[in-house]
Amino acid sequence: MPTGGPKPPAVEVHEAGTIGHGHAMIVLLTRRIFGLILTLLAVSLLIFAVMALLPGDPAAITLGTSATPETLAALRHEMGLDQPLIIRYGQWLAGALTGDLGKSYTYGVPVAGLIVERLAVTLPLAILAILLSVLIAVPLGVAAAARRGGFFDIVAALFSQMGIAVPGFWVGLLLVLLFATSLGWMPAGGFPGWGSGMWPALKSLVLPAVALALPQAAVLTRVTRSAVLDTLHEDFARTATAKGLSRSRVLWGHVVPNALVPVLTILGLQFTFLVAGAVLIENVFTLPGLGRLAYQALSQRDIIVLQDVVLFFAGLVIVVNFLVDLSYLAIDPRLRAGGAR
């Protein structure tokens, strides 16, 4: 097994024909989905509890330093903050199940709409960054592994060292200095909205995507390189070479597909990180993404928005992990048999 990523679930190998594969798959999936729902419920309770413990009164923040006690009471009533916690949790959960995530205290609009608006920035940005990262890392990592100590291996080592050491937001600042302030090719930040046209919108995502992708690509290059190296030493690869297959056919036809499991694991982690963790980059480029929405909601104690966005992030991580697990099954036929732990 490759050493780069977490090990796939332990496998009980059944004799072919004892249980139908399709049936086993259904049992496996049902269990996983049930677990997924339980996890989400537990997470929602945890989020709500943390929000309730957070110091700061949204009404007091809204009304500022001249507010009278009566206006504060009136606003707390309007916000529903005078209700018991258990009822507020129940209302939130019931609303969330029917797709009504509540109204933002600060913006006064439904949170679901806010999240969808922000996803129109965050998702394309994350996808662009992932694409860039894969396009850089996979060829570089494979080339580095193909000839250890060769030119590409040195380039890959240098690149991944620097990419991991240098923080993305700093790269972002440098990119702004060069491409926006000095050369004037790109906007220094902000997002004109997709309504202003494909190119202006994409253009404003290019620099942040690069800043996001470089550190991710650095990690991915290392993972790819070590996964390919490990796989190169497996018996089947040696056998393929011994059988007289060309070096590149062994590499691309046999080794790379088998090295993909750890790469996919990292990609899954990176995607959730890119959606949920791009706050710094979004601030440097003043992009109205989800991370910045959460950050603003936190500082304004817009608790409704905050708990919805955090629940969304948590749900995203859980669902993406689920999908990554499923994709192991697709990549590695050995995992499909039986499957249950």
Binding site: L40, L54, G56, D57, A60, I61, T62, L63, G64, T65, S66, A67, T68, T71, A74, E78, T106, Y107, G108, V109, A112, L114, I115, V116, R118, L119, A120, L123, P124, L173, V176, L177, A180, A188, G189, G190, F191, G193, W194, G195, S196, G197, M198, W199, P200, N283, V284, F285, T286, P288, G289, L293, Q296, S299, Q300, R301, D302, F312, G315, V319
Partner: protein
């Protein structure tokens, strides 16, 4: 949760297709527009407003987008801080100061077609002072006992006690006129009578306003057709956006230390104006040892305001000796009442029973001026043997809870944004826990007279009491750091009230 990613993907795809079709058209439009004089403005702000209705929430950013642009008041406050007529063209105050009769403008309509008349004005003020009002300045309207609208052009306010500041308060963003049919939605889609109409709000990025072609006030010539307020919170990103030309103006640039970086820029100019933002280090006046006036005075004398301004705000800012700014009427320079003198401070501290100093904690919000000032103060207090620990306190949430509401603190430091708010030292409860009947009496007297010179005399006396009593350490007034395109004319250089008034802004050819 996945439910929401699906429609959004579809949404994105649709917007993509739409955008591609639109971009060609926009490109051609852009080409023809480049020929004529520019009529659009991209204006940068550090803080995004939380809602767009200044009558239901306190943050100044709301007024900075809407006041005088979307919303107007019975009266307005001009660039020099004077009260000027607006939707009320004139008014009369009865000799006993208890009846205000306003003559309103005629032919004024809200952006959605509603008529502005005395009924709308009465509605607005009743909404602000009513039982379920959430107006952040509800106390402004406390003395209004009843409101009459005898005819469409006349509004009469009957007061329970004379209120000398009432007219001034009616000029504030929290007192703007709203439409009876539209007010409930002003938070998201504001409807006013002003020279600009609300167009769109891309939350987290920008607010668009467009010119109101039916603006009632024909004596002003509004040049701008479209204004975009862009919200950029990072100072480096603000500077980059200015230099790249993404924004044309940053009337309140956030980083004084970056002001030099615009020197020699061929396109941009910098203007250093004044504001009402008073940076003061408030003390808990009922907590030991701050309950002893001599201790507070010693701490004040331990501070060299000039060095603090240098360290905190790159030397840009004006020292103050009380809770009053040089642009306020009746201002007295009282910075020499307790001037910087470490030896005297140490002696006074010994007299108060602290020959070896003492230790206390300052709760500092995260805004740049606060920790920077606190660090300089810490060194200066150390010179007189006083140890000050610095405890970062998240603003607004935790600060409001611990310091403002809970009053659980020794010292704090915060910039008070509200103009002419010296009366906060007479409020009870208020976070200073300062109680001085003589001072309270003065503040009452200010309200009992409508005579300006009389008021200014009382304001002068009130300043002197504070300068002597130092319930808070009075440090400096923040400057208004304006950075904008040299061809842009008409932006306010000073800020008697937090705002971005765009009525007279235009581009030079």
């Amino acid at each position: 949760m996945t439910k929401f990613s699906h429609p959004s993907l579809g949404d994105v795809a649709r917007r993509l297709a739409f955008g591609a079709a639109l971009s060609t058209g926009l490109l051609m439009l852009g080409l023809t527009q480049a020929q004529a004089a520019k009529t659009t403005l991209n204006l940068g702000m550090t803080v995004e407003p939380t809602g767009l209705d200044p009558t239901i929430a306190a943050p100044v950013a709301i007024g900075q987008v809407t006041w005088q642009n979307i919303f107007e008041g019975l009266v307005a406050i001009d660039e020099s801080g004077k009260i000027v007529p607006q939707l009320a063209k004139s008014w009369e105050i009865s000799p006993d100061g208890l009846t205000y009769t306003f003559r309103l403008q005629t032919g004024v309509k809200f952006h959605d077609g509603q008529v502005f008349d005395s009924a709308a004005a009465k509605f607005t003020l009743d909404r602000a002072r009513g039982g379920d009002s959430v107006n952040p300045q509800k106390r402004f309207f406390a003395s209004i006992a009843s409101i009459d609208a005898p005819d469409a052009e006349t509004l009469v306010l009957h007061l329970s006690s004379p209120t000398g500041s009432l007219l001034y308060w009616l000029g504030w963003p929290s007192s703007v006129m709203v439409g009876p049919k539209s007010s409930a939605n002003d938070k998201t889609t504001p409807v006013g009578t002003g020279p600009f109409k609300f167009s769109a709000w891309a939350k987290g990025d920008h607010v668009d306003l467009v010119k109101n072609p039916d603006y009632w006030n024909k004596s002003v010539d509004v040049k701008l057709e479209k204004v975009t307020f862009r919200f950029i919170s990072d100072p480096q990103a603000e500077a980059a956006a200015l230099k790249a030309g993404d924004v044309d103006a940053f009337p309140e640039f956030a980083a004084p230390e970056l002001m030099n970086s615009f020197d020699g820029d061929a396109r941009l100019t910098t203007k250093i104006g004044n504001t009402e933002l008073k940076v003061v280090a408030g003390m808990n006046n009922t907590r030991k040892p701050f309950d002893d006036k001599r201790v507070r005075q010693a701490l004040m004398m331990a501070l060299d305001r000039k060095t603090i301004i240098e360290g905190a705000w790159s030397g840009l800012g004006t020292a103050i000796g009380s809770h009053y700014t040089p642009n306020d009427p009746g201002y007295k320079d009282l910075t020499d009442v307790l001037p910087y003198d470490a030896a005297k401070a140490k002696a006074l501290l010994a007299k108060a029973g602290y020959p070896n100093g003492f230790t206390f904690t300052i709760k500092t919000p995260q805004m740049a001026y606060a920790p920077r000032s606190a660090q300089v103060m810490q060194a200066m207090f150390a010179d007189i043997g006083v140890t000050m620990n610095i405890e970062p306190t998240e603003f607004p949430a935790k600060w409001v809870q611990d310091v403002f509401t809970g009053r659980d603190y020794d010292m704090t430091i915060v910039a008070h944004a509200e103009p002419m708010d010296i009366d906060i030292y007479s409020r009870d409860p208020y976070y200073f826990n300062y109680k001085n009947p003589a001072f309270n009496e003065l503040i009452k007297k200010i309200q009992l007279t409508a005579d300006v010179s009389e008021q200014n005399k009382f304001y002068g006396e009130a300043q002197s009491i504070l300068a002597e009593d130092v319930p808070a350490l009075f440090l400096f007034v923040m400057p208004k750091l304006g950075v904008w395109d040299k061809k842009l004319k008409g932006l306010w250089e000073n800020e008697p009230i937090p705002s971005n008034v765009l009525t007279n802004v235009s581009w030079e050819d």
